[in-house]
Symmetry: C3
Subunit: 344 residues, 3 copies
Amino acid sequence: MQFSELIIKLGSAVTASSADRDRQRNPILTGLAPIEAAAAGTISYIEGDKFAKFVDTTAASALILPMNATIHTQADARGIAWIAASEPRLLFAQVIKLFYQPFRLPVGIHPSAIVELGVELGADVSIGAHVVIQTGVKIGTGVVIHPNVVIYPNVQIGDRTTLHANCTIHERVRIGNDCVIHSGAVIGSEGFGFVPTATGWFKMEQAGDTVLEDGVEIGCNSSVDRPAVGETRIGRATKLDNLVHVGHGCQIGANCALAAQVGLAGGVKVGNGVLLAGQVGVANQVTIGDRAIASSKTGIHSNVEPGEIVSGYPAVSHKLWLKTAAIVNRLPEMYQFFKQSQRS
Amino acid sequence: MQFSELIIKLGSAVTASSADRDRQRNPILTGLAPIEAAAAGTISYIEGDKFAKFVDTTAASALILPMNATIHTQADARGIAWIAASEPRLLFAQVIKLFYQPFRLPVGIHPSAIVELGVELGADVSIGAHVVIQTGVKIGTGVVIHPNVVIYPNVQIGDRTTLHANCTIHERVRIGNDCVIHSGAVIGSEGFGFVPTATGWFKMEQAGDTVLEDGVEIGCNSSVDRPAVGETRIGRATKLDNLVHVGHGCQIGANCALAAQVGLAGGVKVGNGVLLAGQVGVANQVTIGDRAIASSKTGIHSNVEPGEIVSGYPAVSHKLWLKTAAIVNRLPEMYQFFKQSQRS
Amino acid sequence: MQFSELIIKLGSAVTASSADRDRQRNPILTGLAPIEAAAAGTISYIEGDKFAKFVDTTAASALILPMNATIHTQADARGIAWIAASEPRLLFAQVIKLFYQPFRLPVGIHPSAIVELGVELGADVSIGAHVVIQTGVKIGTGVVIHPNVVIYPNVQIGDRTTLHANCTIHERVRIGNDCVIHSGAVIGSEGFGFVPTATGWFKMEQAGDTVLEDGVEIGCNSSVDRPAVGETRIGRATKLDNLVHVGHGCQIGANCALAAQVGLAGGVKVGNGVLLAGQVGVANQVTIGDRAIASSKTGIHSNVEPGEIVSGYPAVSHKLWLKTAAIVNRLPEMYQFFKQSQRS
């Protein structure tokens, strides 16, 4: 695609561009690259001003830049075509969509797939090899189910949802429209419910439902359990990374992001727009308010207020944690002082 | 089911009930619900006295209550039918069993399943679509194997055990009676054994066995590795939640519970009745005594005594941890004092 | 195998042996065992001098010992045949290879496997039941693909590589020679790329590649994501244990070992020969130098120098961490002193 054509396709997403200064600088772009590894013919981006140094060395033929005239001049000096916007990463994401489409299974049902009697299929579904869809399942329009997926009876799946290979959807699950379930993920499995008795564990059957609202993504090998009663629910457009555990009865709001290896115990309530970084753990029944943020590895044992930023184990305010984490490393000195003071 | 019928079915599990006071209060119960979301026609429960406030607002038609006369009177005042026992959660688990049976595959072998020559199958087995059972496998009576499960050669599986969809059982594995292996779990995979040499890693073949005793449950996407020699063993009625890692050569006793994302390195010895909360890690060769408890995220590097409760990283007694965790947050003040003292 | 035959087969790997003292001590060895559980007829080993006590009690017929004359005499006194080397564990790994071969699928394509048009297969490949290999895939000589594996279009797999049951290989992946992908692992799945906008998350398509160099092993249920642009790359002979997460765009060097449940966020750079113990987490864009080591559960937020050993959260030098971890437990005393000092 020629650079000038790219500008036209992106339309109002582009705020400024080198085309305004030099219409001759119009390279043909054949691919995408990260800034450090970009070869001639590729388009790349820098996320913000602190990466400006890369403009001086990259071999990219075109760049997406932040709104910074100095950087634009830098690119001009090297003869690199550029476009700019206030959010370069977002603009780059839009450019990727113009160059790349992820693999999509062809429409149709592979002859090796098992679709039991009593399954309702919408129009234009793609069902891969060795998929197993059990009785009573309802599948919407344009759904893509990759090979070796297993769907237990009576599951409901909305329009345009994608299930990647080898994932498993258990009974009592409802998945919305435009969701993506990645490979190996397990949705609606039995919650971990065992009541201690004098003669050992008594298993509490998990009779509740699991609901993923529209636009939810669940990462590879993550698990979302169903509860004994009531619902486990993940709100609209919330995204889970790989190897995340959501315990039975959790209620997660809309537009959250849970990074890899996060674990929520049972009955956790998470508000809207919450960000949990990698390996965060949240204890049973805790409530986390809207737009709260937890740093990686945070262990959350008690409620978090809306908008709060927490870190550490047990979690405290991020500001306090930064202070104490620095001082912990002075403990040897402090301890020596303490011992001397006691002796004197 | 009518409330009076429920009382009869539960028998001696019920210690007291509203039927003793008011035989007319006999609602028809159509389902189960958590207390906050219960609608008319459902039965719910409160786990203990601190949830008594919900009795005043719930729309449930019947409740399971603790043995507390005040709460019973509260329910009477609202016209809610109730039964009571010293362990309401256990009684509720028994009630769920009367209302709900999890999905069970029909008995028989799906025509798409591959059962190789030399496999022994017990009576009344259910083998789902696209299951693969390789030569020399022995499977007991009433075993249920959901779709897309793979069993490597010579595995033994006891009576009434359930394998959920997409799990994998490797060679040299023996699974007892009444076990449940959840979706995506991998049992008997090669332990992580690499010996460093001048020319790189030398792979130590994992020639040992993996044994799950009767009544063991393994959560979704968990992995239990086989050792180089000897056994990895999980004792009777021990339950593992999702995404748990059990390294090669671990010996876990009976009646333990390991919560989600727990990781045991190689050769760990865990006694009976041990509880490890979410995301706990245990280092190589550590021994954990009977009935010990570790709080979530605890990092255990050295042996834990029977009955001990540990927390923190590195693990210390839970009591000490509670003290130090509180004081850590006073470190900024303490440090300021230390700096001033030094200056003076 | 007779003991004398074993010595011949091991050749120069054996530095000393009881055969030099007593040619009559020549037991028939029928199996392998860990030292504590060894029965007559088995060969076992002790890893170093501190396990010497086991020589006095083991029932093993033969032992692999360190180069320590006292221990050799100990074994002689009990009539146990022995061989010795400076690295007993390495020698034991070589002995295992003589007694044990892991299960290997027979060469050929199972009739239930789906191999689409346009797939290139090398000689002597083994393709198990219900495997799905999509168009454009190239597979080398001697590759073993266990049942229910799914390979997306255009993947390349080198010679002698093994894919265990139920793993998934996504598009844009190149796997080298002599690799092992364990059950449930997912390679080349979409990286977690969502750009926040006023109207919610904007998905960044992941158009990059994933490359595993020769000799890489990926543990059960681990996930290695592909990036938006550029590569995710794992270097030659690097080994990942189970349930490891490698975020999009990570670059891992050669000969590393990442233990179970390690998580790398996006764009992490790891040098050669790096060891990350269990449950370590590494933040976005961090660089870890060659031969660095991180203790279990370490949380790495900033760069680690080559050869550095780090521990704790946030990570500090292991030496400092050992000091502070010990002193943290004196905090209650220190705090009491601080309170008293303030009052006085």
